[in-house]
Amino acid sequence: MHELGIVTHVAKTLDELAAEQKITKIGSVTLQVGEVSGIMTEYFVDCWNYFKVRHPVLQEAEMKIETLPAVTYCEDCSKTYPTVQYGIKCPYCGSERTYLVTGNECLIKEIEAETEE
């Protein structure tokens, strides 16, 4: 299962960060997820809520997800267009010599946290 795998990596990264920076509690985690990253956000949040209780620091952390739009660039006409709507074929010139510029990300943007002091 894809989402659960990502959740375990997020939890591990945050556990390490908590130990490093003496964080006692994380209130929320904001993730930036690309539109074509293949992550189902609703499902991801379910996985998070299932998994977070195993980590004392994360127990109460709310998962917030920001979606980043997918944009494709066309090498032939140098224009960009929305990937989800048009796919691999450029809507301006019909070329398939295109590549994804943004939309495949999965980043931990920020967290809200309480520290020891």
Binding site: M1, H2, L4, G5, I6, H9, V10, K12, T13, E16, L17, Q21, G27, L31, G38, I88, E96, R97, N104, C106, L107, I108, K109, E110, I111, E112, A113, E114, T115
Partner: protein
């Protein structure tokens, strides 16, 4: 509560584990290949034939990753190669931590070339660095020449593509030139090896590549 900005990739902790594993493999002189493909593309058959052909020159081991079951490891061991079965308990890919655990459990002594036979799917395994030195994917002829259009990441990430079951070409609408064009567009540096593990066609090029890459990794400082 204060806000801490991170801007970290979710795979960052895994990427660190993967780099550490590669360093260990360098030290132990083991060349690890992450072998990825769909279910049923012929991974185990390709490996069986490869072990039969070059197992005398190169000491090969196989880490079989599966959701469950034991079948593949038994097939490999029947050929005299070392093998271990790793169960991911429902997870769709192997990460660096799981790979390390499996390899250490199996033992890295007296091995030149190890294959990680990843979970059979073209999506998730492409996204995780397992700590392997090279990534190889298999696409079988019956799957079709349109797969680079559907699963571009896997083709972009791989160092080599094995096109398997070419003996079945007469029965499928599979255009090898079209496939190559699509793959090179995504990844100009990729090596492509059309093979049939059944008839042996093309196997020698693939096996020579394996031997050269293994040698380079083991001997290079």
């Amino acid at each position: 509560m204060k806000v801490i900005e991170l801007h970290k990739s979710v795979t960052e902790s895994n990427d660190r584990d993967a780099d550490a594993l590669r360093a260990l493999l360098k030290e132990k002189k083991v060349f690890l290949i992450n072998l990825m493909s769909s279910a049923g593309s012929g991974k185990t058959t390709l490996l069986s034939r490869t072990i039969q052909d070059i197992g005398k020159d190169v000491r090969i081991a196989v880490l079989e990753a599966d959701i469950d079951a034991q079948v593949d490891a038994e097939r490999i061991e029947a050929l005299g190669a070392r093998s271990i079965q790793v169960h991911t308990d429902g997870m769709c890919h192997m990460d660096a931590g799981m790979t390390r655990t499996g390899l250490l459990e199996m033992g890295l002594e007296d091995i030149d070339l190890a294959f990680l036979e990843n979970i059979g799917n073209l999506i998730c395994p492409a996204e995780y660095d397992t700590g392997a030195v090279k990534k190889v994917m298999i696409l079988s002829v019956p799957e079709g020449d349109d797969k680079p259009l559907k699963y571009p990441l896997m083709f972009q990430e791989s160092d080599a593509l094995v096109v398997s079951k070419i003996d079945a070409m007469p029965w499928f609408d599979f255009d090898m030139n079209k496939l190559k064009e699509r793959v090179y567009r995504l990844n100009p540096a990729i090596r492509i090896f059309p093979v049939s593990a059944k008839t042996g066609e093309g196997m020698q090029d693939w096996e020579n590549w394996l031997k050269e890459e293994t040698k380079t990794w083991i001997e290079e400082e």
